[in-house]
Symmetry: C2
Subunit: 242 residues, 2 copies
């Protein structure tokens, strides 16, 4: 056990990304083979996370995990829930794993999510990290299935009223990319003409004099989200309502 750690407090990170018309979450392989036939071989997946150091804030701990994964320094992280029930670590595998880390069985985890733009590749994708579609998750350790579902619920709620959608698409995006992002996350179909009308009434979605390149079809116009403009308008007419 690392003496710098708080031994009952961790942060877990739900990293989300749109890819192949589906919402994906980043998971880390959890392996622990104790060379003892009586103990289970741990071979499943968990959320990336970290114990909180005594010298770190909660948000700093999440930033550290995000930075290790993405190589970037700035992100919109979102703390959405904390899990600390007495029995949340109870399966044999989970208990073994926590003990092997020198931590307490009654560990509290503060959960964050981070949205990665669809055109970003993570820097440090070693073999232990893999994207999974939310609709086909592998065997997960701890209560991480619950945590992922809670994160997704929170995203679906906030995306109506907060400008979260722009984190999912590239900085310069096409309107169709934006529409598909909404459709994928909320599992709805939107009318293309009506969607474009709604979007073009928003001053904070600004058209650029720039077009896609390298596509073998009509290149589409690019747009950007202006956070500055957004912060100056009080938004009550949301882009979608579903």
């Amino acid at each position: 056990m690392d003496f710098r750690k708080i031994d009952n407090l961790s942060v877990d990170c739900v990293v989300l990304k749109l890819e192949d018309n589906a919402l994906n979450v980043l998971l880390r392989k959890r392996t622990l083979n104790l060379y003892n036939e009586n103990l289970p071989v741990i071979d499943d997946w968990v959320l990336p996370g970290h114990y909180v150091l005594k010298s770190n804030n909660l948000g700093e701990t999440a930033n550290r995990v995000f930075k290790e994964l993405t190589g970037e320094n700035h992100f919109n992280r979102n703390q959405f829930r904390t899990y600390g029930n007495a029995a949340r670590i109870k399966s044999e595998k989970d208990v073994l794993w926590v003990r092997s880390r020198g931590a307490k069985i009654r560990t509290i985890t503060v959960a964050y999510y981070l949205i990665v733009a669809s055109n970003k590749e993570l820097l440090n994708m070693d073999d232990s990290l893999k994207w999974f579609k939310l609709k086909s998750l592998p065997q997960l350790g701890f209560d991480h299935l619950q945590i992922i579902n809670d994160a997704y619920d929170d995203v679906k709620t906030k995306i109506i009223t907060d400008p979260l959608i722009f984190d999912f698409v590239p900085i310069k995006f096409t309107l169709n990319e934006l529409q598909v992002a909404y459709e994928t996350i909320l599992d709805v179909e939107l009318d293309n003409r009506n969607f474009r009308k709604k979007v073009s009434s928003k001053s904070y979605i600004v058209p650029l004099d720039e077009k896609q390149k390298g596509v073998s079809k009509k290149p589409s116009r690019l747009y950007m989200f202006s956070k500055d403009v957004y912060n100056q308008v009080v938004e009550t007419d949301f882009i979608i309502h579903k």
Copy 2:
């Protein structure tokens, strides 16, 4: 220090109630006089809360606090954020107080809010408990001002899309009570006729064949919120949009 406690984990409860056309929060007086002239006299207010026992879940801990305050067994509690920064307990008073409880200076607190109906009186209102308007709070300990403001922000957001409003009013309420509840919480004015039209289009707000009694004016019709009906309709057309 109580050996049954987890010594770095607490739950704080923001109890909210509408009264006198204002949103109120319940606070507990914090006093500690060490009879030592060199130490500060603590004489301010904090949120009711409790350290988490090793045998209790987080939600159970919140329930326990709520039950002690209200005398009731069932409530909609809402976990909205967790505070665990390294420096969140730093003022001399706060440090003294935490030490007097035998707890760690690096304490993590999971914050919940509870809404109390405007016609409910708390059972156990001793002298150490008092309601304060959110707009005129007294001197608060720890980061509890922050926590209260975060709770309020969360309520303001959720009240648009979730049926939170019905927790603020009596079980049998008048439409004007409902309107005033929205107006007070969101600090807006609503047109009475349009509000009533909108509300009466909602199947889950059911009119009773019952009227107010003991009022010296035209008694108004009473309504109830039907959770069962609400859960069967997918609500996308919200009562208000502000």
